[in-house]
Symmetry: C2
Subunit: 318 residues, 2 copies
């Protein structure tokens, strides 16, 4: 699939991944509705296989590959949820996943890759070392690279989360997603455009990693440089495939500070009794900081994942 | 209702509370099944109104009271989930709830009572002061006492959690609940006896508060003296109404140590991405410590609640 996913491609992805993916619940909270003034519908991808929406894109991509393409396994560099999701997807097709991870990756993320049978090669924690190490792994193994977001098959997979949300709550005024590399956001924007065209798409991004916001308002690509945020899933730059979709189909990108993110995360834990990772709290933080935009609006929020190091919580100072 | 709840009384309670209670989800986890060797079905009362199963009994009781009985409000002493549940139930009937709470109650529990409009009177953290203060409150207000567990209306309400679980997973080999005062356990045992008579009822209790275990094996009431456990919902003694039901209809009571409880709690947070309180982790801890009993068994576990002070997690040493 080398073209922008159309309606059919997203529906085909949904069918393809169905057996290996959870149709995650959509939860509501009267308490958080009262607090925000909005009507919130949380699409809980923290309950997704491997703990994040990333399983959707990884399964879609790996199941589109032929036996020949899979013969030598797949590979990627990722410090996060894509690594575990790709390891799991590869195992489902009976092939290997080679994962390049920064040596300072969290224990939880390393364990998740191990659990799904991924083979880890550690590298220094910078993009240069990640790419260099991945090149070496590819040369040694001839494994096929599966990029975490800059791939139309990945985007079509991530789009299925919004598709499910749209099917279960009709009609939404707004759909929100966090933005890092833009895989989830561009998929969300496409599904909204095709299946719920009256619904606005509002993205949310940490102020400390606001490259997507700056790219969006200047309409020209701004790379992520020295990002600094607790939302560790949102550190990367937009991709050449995700950015144009975002420009075309996203209405607004809102940015929020670190304290807002931590407060929003803790509120969701406390009131909804679900565990979400910091990146997932960014859209709800944006709602709380912009109550005028969301007042009385039926607002879907994609909770991107729930992989948190429970030994290090941002509101507990050791 | 001054007699042991029969089948009809439990079904009536289910109908009575339906509009004001969540039919909470039953979640499964492949990961925890692999780890335990059992097939686990978690009935998630952490997603219940006010964050715990206690809302069932409180709503059932308050909605059985006449307008005259409610005229001066209701009252109770409770440091925990019954306090918030009763406050909420009273508000639903437009009456007041007077809550006697130990002065060392956690901030989260105090806030919950305030949120639902309960009026708090603080007392010293011992049973004598709790009862004395409650007497004073009753004299001042003429409010009607609603006991947290030693009341057949409460027991019938708590029984509806197991009823829902039994309806959604057929047939279970085992149903588990934690035991403190015995309201949840006796209700669970009655529902299992009436609606799924082939299913065994296995209770779980902290070793540091094992009065129910000792009462059960000696078949004579042993009070809870100086209980010491992180499972703060399980500190109380059995009641004169709950103990006979437990003797008649519970198969076994298993006890577990503190480290097991904390480990089980963290595993559920980490793998299932849900927030449960320590008391709720006690049955799963018992499964992990007694794998032979549960191997391959379809085991329902009632997760009693999710009200945790997120600033003080037992696995994080400050």
């Amino acid at each position: 699939m080398n073209k922008l996913p159309d309606e059919k491609a997203i529906l085909a992805a949904a069918g393809r991944i169905k057996r290996h993916i959870n149709d995650t619940p959509v939860l509501t909270s009267r308490n958080l509705d009262e607090l925000s003034g909005a009507n919130l519908y949380f699409k809980c991808e923290n309950f997704q296989k491997a703990g994040a929406f990333k399983s959707r894109g990884a399964v879609n991509t790996v199941f589109l590959l032929s036996k020949d393409e899979l013969a030598n396994g797949v590979c990627t560099h990722s410090s996060g949820n894509h690594a575990a999701a790709l390891s799991r997807a590869a195992a489902l097709r009976g092939t290997k996943a080679y994962i390049v991870m920064p040596e300072n990756s969290s224990k939880v993320k390393i364990e998740a890759v191990n659990y799904y049978g991924g083979e880890i090669t550690f590298c220094k924690p910078n993009l240069e070392s990640r790419e260099l190490t991945l090149n070496q792994v590819q040369q040694n193994t001839s494994a096929l690279e599966v990029h975490p977001y800059n791939d139309y098959r990945i985007i079509a997979g991530q789009a299925t989360a919004a598709l499910e949300l749209i099917k279960s709550v009709i009609p939404l005024d707004v759909i929100m997603a966090p933005v890092g590399g833009g895989g989830l956001l561009s998929g969300t924007a496409l599904s909204t455009f095709y299946f719920s065209s009256e619904t606005k798409v509002i993205a949310a991004e940490p102020k400390g990693a606001d490259d997507a916001y700056r790219s969006f308002i200047s309409e020209s690509f701004v790379p992520s440089e020295n990002p600094n945020t607790i939302a560790d899933g949102l550190l990367t730059s937009l991709g050449t495939l995700t950015f144009p979709i975002i420009l075309d189909h996203v209405d607004t990108i809102l940015t929020v500070g670190e304290e807002s993110i931590i407060k929003a995360m803790k509120l969701i834990w406390e009131r909804m009794k679900i565990i979400i990772e910091p990146s997932s709290a960014v859209p709800f933080a944006a709602v709380l900081e912009n109550k005028n935009i969301f007042a009385g609006k039926k607002t879907g929020i994609i909770i991107s994942g729930g992989n948190v190091d429970l030994d290090k919580l941002p509101w507990i100072k050791k």
